[in-house]
């Protein structure tokens, strides 16, 4: 069953088409990879999906509901939450308080929110940082915190924007395991990533964007053997 349908979404900034006529469908319980060179419009697409920008044209349908024009908070309450390429920790709050802010989307009781937040911190393995200030965490842990906070809002669809960016191989591996764990629990995910090896491993399907347009879509194998993708993005070495 399709949980998210992107129907001919375009986003113009003045004369510039950051996304033009992008369409695809994300099936429930799967991981959809979103790749493309810098400036291809991946983050813009995330912004259009999660309500930060209204799409200039086209429709975003989530769980059968048209999302165009809804604000990000409403989008979150309906079950779609994103993380940020440039992490946005609530720096002066502790790690647990950060995740509690997410959990409070579903409860008004601080006690209950704390329990929910602790669960998510265990999922991302940050239990040992509970009382640390979020602003003092190293980048790898900030990325995990970002995921935990998003998970705490109990989404149906999680959108991860370059959650492995800037991490060392060991940290990336942890995140890959985390993403697979989350999938194992039945949560649908959409992942922007630059690391081809990682995205090949985790994605069920991949959409490739270049200069705002969808170049192709398919299983990881189909995508890496597609000549257009090799020309536009991967270069010879991946062929």
């Amino acid at each position: 069953m399709a949980i998210l349908e992107i129907k001919s979404v375009s986003k113009f900034f003045g004369g510039l088409a950051a996304n033009s006529d992008v369409s695809f469908v994300v099936e429930e319980g799967t991981i959809m990879g979103l790749i493309g060179p810098n400036g291809a419009g991946k983050t813009t697409l995330f912004n259009c999906i999660t309500g930060y920008y209204p799409p200039s044209k086209g429709e975003v349908i989530f769980n059968g509901r048209r999302m165009n024009g809804l604000q990000p908070d409403k989008v979150c309450m309906l079950g779609m939450v994103r993380t940020w390429q440039k992490v946005r920790p609530l720096a002066k709050l502790s790690v647990i308080d950060n995740v509690m802010v997410g959990a409070l989307a579903r409860t008004s009781s601080l006690k209950h929110a704390r329990e929910l937040a602790m669960e998510q911190l265990k999922v991302v393995r940050l239990e040992h940082r509970v009382d640390f200030l979020a602003g003092g965490l190293p980048i790898g842990e900030r990325k995990k915190l970002e995921v935990a906070r998003a998970l705490a809002t109990q989404p149906k669809l999680l959108l991860l924007d370059e959650v492995m960016g800037g991490l060392n191989p060991a940290e990336s591996e942890e995140i890959i395991q985390l993403i697979l764990d989350i999938k194992h629990h039945g949560l649908t995910q959409m992942v922007i990533e630059h690391d081809m090896k990682a995205i090949m491993r985790i994605s069920d399907r991949i959409v490739v964007l270049t200069s705002g347009e969808k170049l192709t879509e398919g299983t990881p194998q189909e995508v890496v053997s597609n000549q257009d993708v090799i020309d536009a993005y991967l270069g010879e070495s991946h062929a």
């Binding site: 908070d73 940020w84 409070l104 809002t153």
Partner: protein, 349 residues
């Protein structure tokens, strides 16, 4: 466990001491100082909720202070409405004013919000000067005769001494502290702080930014208007510069910035520093002190200069104080004290 018990009993002892002070202290000046302190705490605490927790630096809180003060005084002066009724009319008006201001100003972020908040307070001040039929204009409203407060036939107080004001002020200060405590320990406080730390991140986590900013503003404005009403009744006089001037807004902020924003005890510490300082300056205590310890002689040119000018210099000294705080304690006195405490939870190593 022991710690909380000790803390709680210390708090109770302190509170009991505050309650019995008027029984043993007869000096009106000492009571006056305490009342100013309570007023300052409640002003700082009100601003703290919007500025300290939600991170919306309003430099226009004089608007709410002034509306609270003016409404209560105008009703008492021209309609003979007793202040303890008039104050709630003020609160109602302030809620409306705050929502109007919020719906306009919260479209703006950061420094633009600050500028808009200043503009709004200035509009209020100019209105008070010019709507002479309503506000008596620049002359202000003088209303010192407060009717006795009765329950049934029994007179509770006739407001002839400072003692009833002491208790009202104490109650107001405790009330604002309690509200701040409640905010910090509720969903509201978490959402305010999330907005302060990162508005976009907060938005993505299901927080309706405008709604929560307006809630913060309304709580803050209502508490500020209560402080304003209290000020008006206590002093018995309001005019545009004393309750609606820009320096009122700045003073309200400073209490909180110097004490420590976004903490429960910051505004209390800020008041403990600022109120005595401004009183000492106003009454020329500092010059007298310098003369007494022999640093300057009263008849020398420096002595005369200080005597002449220091009492007008409290704004200058506030400025210096703010610079010092920003340079050396960017998180206010409260942050400074916390930093001195064992460095738990500071940074991940």
């Amino acid at each position: 466990m022991y710690k909380t018990l000790i803390k709680a009993s210390l708090g109770l002892i302190f509170l009991a001491a505050l309650l019995v002070i008027p029984r043993y202290v007869e000096s009106p000046y000492a009571l006056h100082m305490m009342i100013l302190l309570f007023l300052s705490v409640s002003q700082g605490q009100s601003w703290n909720i919007l500025g300290g927790y939600a991170g919306q630096y309003s430099v226009g809180h004089a608007a709410y202070f002034g509306v609270g003060a003016y409404t209560t005084m105008m009703l008492m002066y021209s309609r003979q409405v007793v202040p303890w009724v008039g104050v709630w009319v003020g609160v109602a008006i302030v809620i409306v004013v705050a929502l109007v201001i919020g719906s306009i100003c919260f479209r703006l972020r950061g420094p633009y919000f600050v500028l808009a908040s200043i503009a709004v307070a200035e509009i209020m001040r100019l209105s008070a000067i010019n709507l002479t039929t309503l506000t008596n204009g620049a002359e202000g409203i003088l209303a010192t005769e407060i009717p006795a407060f009765k329950i049934g036939e029994r007179v509770i107080t006739d407001f002839l001494t400072k003692v009833p004001f002491y208790y009202i002020g104490l109650f107001l200060a405790l009330f604002t502290i309690a509200i701040t405590y409640w905010v910090q320990h509720s969903k509201l406080g978490y959402y305010f702080q999330a907005i302060r730390e990162d508005q976009d991140a907060a938005h993505s986590l299901g927080i309706h930014i405008t709604v929560y900013k307006n809630i913060g503003l309304v709580i803050s404005a209502v508490l500020t208007s209560l402080a304003g009403a209290f000020y008006g009744i206590y002093v018995g006089f309001v005019d545009p510069p004393t309750v609606l001037g820009l320096d009122v807004s700045v003073q309200i902020m400073l209490i909180c910035i110097i004490g420590g924003m976004g903490t429960i005890w910051g505004p209390v510490l800020g008041s403990l520093l600022l109120v005595p300082l401004s009183e000492a300056l106003r009454s020329n205590m500092i010059t007298e002190g310098l003369v007494k310890i022999g640093l300057v002689s009263a008849d020398s040119r420096i002595g005369l200069f200080l005597k002449e000018n220091l009492s007008h210099a409290h704004v200058l000294l506030y400025g210096i104080l703010v610079v010092l705080v920003i340079l050396f304690m960017p998180e206010g006195l409260m942050g400074f004290i916390k930093k001195m405490a064992p460095r738990r939870n500071r940074e991940a190593v």
